[in-house]
Symmetry: C2
Subunit: 257 residues, 2 copies
DNA sequence: AAGTGGTCTAGACCACGTC
DNA sequence: ACGTGGTCTAGACCACTTG
């Protein structure tokens, strides 16, 4: 009756790894291992709920919780009457984490410094409004700042903040605090869009980054909204030879978890 | 006793949006809406399970399923005795989806063509082994191919395949089928790493992409493993002025969902 | 038509952390 | 110590889908 009188469904439970976790966690780990190791390849039919019940000697709700979790994680899909099947990994798509600049530099073991170059309040120009969708004439804060690693320019940050959405930004001291950090603390975002592209450094950008004109740069543009209203738009220029974005992941992280 | 005799917890259920979904889906949508809209800001304490039970007139397991789902989605965190709280959005980090080249081109509404330029089987050179960690002397397949959109070179793909791991690749016809697609169908990957960088096009690459030498290119390098064994390493060069990677997401997608 | 998953209930005991 | 979440049970009815 209890889950302890069944040994069949608990392969390797006597080893350290299977100990002292909850039953549904052990079942989930078992199934995930089979899927991620390839033992159950995409399309493979997972045992029915009643079979897993018998194997692990537990109630149906318990295996159901596990299988629902695997669906939410994108590892399997379920069809009534047919069964549960291992999902094919998501196309060629992938997921990439972009750390913030300061954390990035510090994690490379280099000294970090930040410099505010310009900070101007103005009514949004036509050019501004192409970057951040505020109404005509709405006030924006335009920031230009430089991230410095071990004394060398590391990245250039060019940011607009919609002051209607974030009026407190007008009085914030961005020479002391990173704009990104300040915004995150004061205005949680709810939607964001990233655009990554390669572009040659124009004369002004090249001078500020201390690289030759035309140097291939990685440009990351991020725009964030809160409830549909634009908050900020930022472009970060990285000289291409110094910066790479790296991501490591498994299908589980890519598919939904 | 049943869930129908309670009106309090079901705001807006009479509208079309709340109809005919399961109870836990409606509860989840309710809570997610409050969180993502900012009505419940980060740190806010969500009602206790027993409160939600009363509000929605349902069993504890039902609200528990909802709250567990929100944890898995990274939207809340729960502490015994203390309660459930809205999570702070993940740092400056972000998530980016990289679609595969063919889907990318077709989604832009352009005609897609693919050309195999070279396909060579060889023992891994020192240079190959810097890209793909196979044993010395192990056989690899080296492919070079071009993706063409509306008749113009769109991207250059430079790929190595470990033949020890994927012997069937030796006999595959890569002039007919995209290597990436073929691999995905024959060898599901389990770990992958991406590296994104900007680099100037060297003479040979520039010629094959039909751009001036030195053009800033976006280079995406992807390596995949199966159970720790390398399968393939690929570099895709995109002329920077034609290609941008775009990602749109909410904290839920970034945090773990 | 049969069997699958989808959903829900009304209990229960336990572990843990805050009070 | 108390109340929270964590987990689990042994049922139940329903909807869908496939054979």
């Amino acid at each position: 009756m209890t889950r302890d009188d069944e040994g069949v469904g608990d392969p390797g439970a006597s080893t350290a790894s299977g100990a002292d976790r909850s039953l549904h966690q052990r079942i989930r780990a078992d199934l995930e291992e089979r899927i991620l190791s390839g033992a159950w390849s995409p399309g493979h039919r997972i045992p029915f709920e009643h079979e897993l019940m018998a194997q692990y000697g537990c109630a149906r709700m318990t295996v159901n919780k596990v299988l629902s979790g695997l669906v939410e994680a994108g590892l399997i899909e379920r069809r009534r009457r047919a069964g549960s099947f291992v999902r094919r990994p998501v196309g060629q798509s992938a997921v990439l984490r972009i750390p913030d600049v300061k954390a990035e530099v510090l994690s490379r073991g280099e000294a970090y410094r930040y410099e505010l170059i310009t900070c101007a309040r103005r009514k949004a120009t036509r050019e501004d409004r192409a970057r951040i969708a505020v109404p005509a004439g709405a006030p924006v804060l335009a920031l230009l700042c430089r991230h410095v690693a071990d004394g060398r320019p590391y990245a250039l940050e060019d940011r607009l903040i919609a002051l209607d959405a974030v009026p407190e930004a007008a009085t914030a001291d961005f020479s002391a605090e990173l704009p990104g950090t300040w915004l995150l603390a004061h205005v949680p975002w709810h939607e964001a869009e990233h655009e990554i592209t390669a572009a040659p450094a124009d004369a002004r950008t090249a001078a500020r980054l201390d690289v030759p004109v035309g140097t291939a740069c990685l440009v990351i543009a991020r725009r964030t909204w809160r409830g549909g209203a634009p908050i900020t738009a930022v472009r970060i220029w990285y000289p291409g030879d110094r910066q790479t974005l790296v991501a490591r992941f498994t299908p589980a992280t890519a598919a939904g978890r």
